[in-house]
């Protein structure tokens, strides 16, 4: 796999859409390309933020935060 192919596969990797045989090849290329591969993958994870931020926020029940904070303070 060359770096351009690696770049094409990276967005599929970050959304978990690579098939097992593709994943194996991808991981080999990831090791081969080292830091520039890691940097590119990190950048592709921006897709996660983009997809989440493209949704209209939903309102959570007020009780959720109360329960969460009570649990956190109890564990401290």
């Amino acid at each position: 796999m060359n770096f351009e192919q690696f770049q094409n596969q990276s967005p599929l990797y970050v959304i978990g859409a690579l098939e097992p045989e593709e994943l194996e090849e991808f991981e080999k290329a990831r090791k081969k390309f080292g830091k520039k591969a890691e940097d590119y993958i990190t950048e592709c994870y921006g897709l996660h933020e983009a997809f989440a931020l493209s949704l209209r926020p939903a309102k959570a029940s007020a009780a959720i935060k109360q329960r969460l904070m009570a649990m956190v303070r109890a564990r401290k």
Binding site: A50, F51, A52, L55, K59, A60
Partner: protein
């Protein structure tokens, strides 16, 4: 926030610029990174602020996956508890706090979808959605853009610019955690076509977001 956390937060350096921007912060409000440092220092107030800032976005993401209001609320609570427990594993070198939280929330939501055996029920709902609005992202965009914030409107515009079939493939992969083979079976589409749709669609979104990064 604890004094120690504030001190640590002040020396934190910004991370590499990424695509998307979090909601606009009030002047003087702690950044996401400062809040993560606060959580790492076990400051509940930092978690409280982070919750206030992102519970709506994360709940929307969870709802998109599991389509159940009560389950989404429960999962949201579990996810923020995991953020509290796993904050020590967050590294600014690997990306922004929001990206880390979204990745964690998506994984938990997809796990939850399968674990709670809601998958079959969601599939029925999903099938109805696919039949009724194969281009759900497109479908909602026009009316929503009127009220959406700038960031969301821009992101919608980017996503809506790709063909509906590519949107659908990405939607099923990202929000439902489906593999290419599952998408192919679900949509009666050849596997190679699904792969091409995912690659082209994601590349277009990635490239468009890079071009827009100064506006986001």
């Amino acid at each position: 926030m604890h004094r120690k956390a504030k001190k640590r937060a002040r020396v934190a350096k910004p991370t590499t610029r990424r695509f998307s921007a979090p909601p606009q912060l009030e002047p003087g409000a702690p950044t996401d990174l400062q809040l993560m440092h606060g959580i790492q220092a076990e400051d509940p107030d930092a978690l409280s602020l982070l919750y206030d800032r992102y519970n709506g976005i994360l709940k929307a993401l969870i709802l998109r996956v599991i389509h159940n209001e009560a389950e989404a609320d429960d999962l949201l609570q579990e996810i923020f508890m995991e953020i509290w427990n796993q904050a020590k594993n967050f590294s600014a070198q690997k990306g922004k706090p929001l990206g880390w939280m979204v990745t964690l929330a998506r994984r938990r939501a997809i796990d939850g979808l399968r674990k709670k055996q809601a998958y079959a029920r969601a599939e029925v709902r999903l099938q109805v959605e696919i039949e009724q609005q194969p281009d759900a992202w497109v479908h909602n965009a026009t009316e929503e853009e009127i009220v959406l914030g700038d960031t969301r409107a821009l992101l919608r515009k980017v996503i809506n610019a790709i063909p509906p079939a590519q949107q659908q493939a990405i939607d099923l992969a990202f929000f439902k955690g489906m593999s290419q083979r599952e998408i192919a079976a679900k949509t009666n589409t050849p596997l190679g076509t699904v792969k091409t749709r995912l690659e082209l669609g994601l590349k277009k979104i990635y490239d468009a977001l890079k071009e827009l990064k100064d506006e986001l």
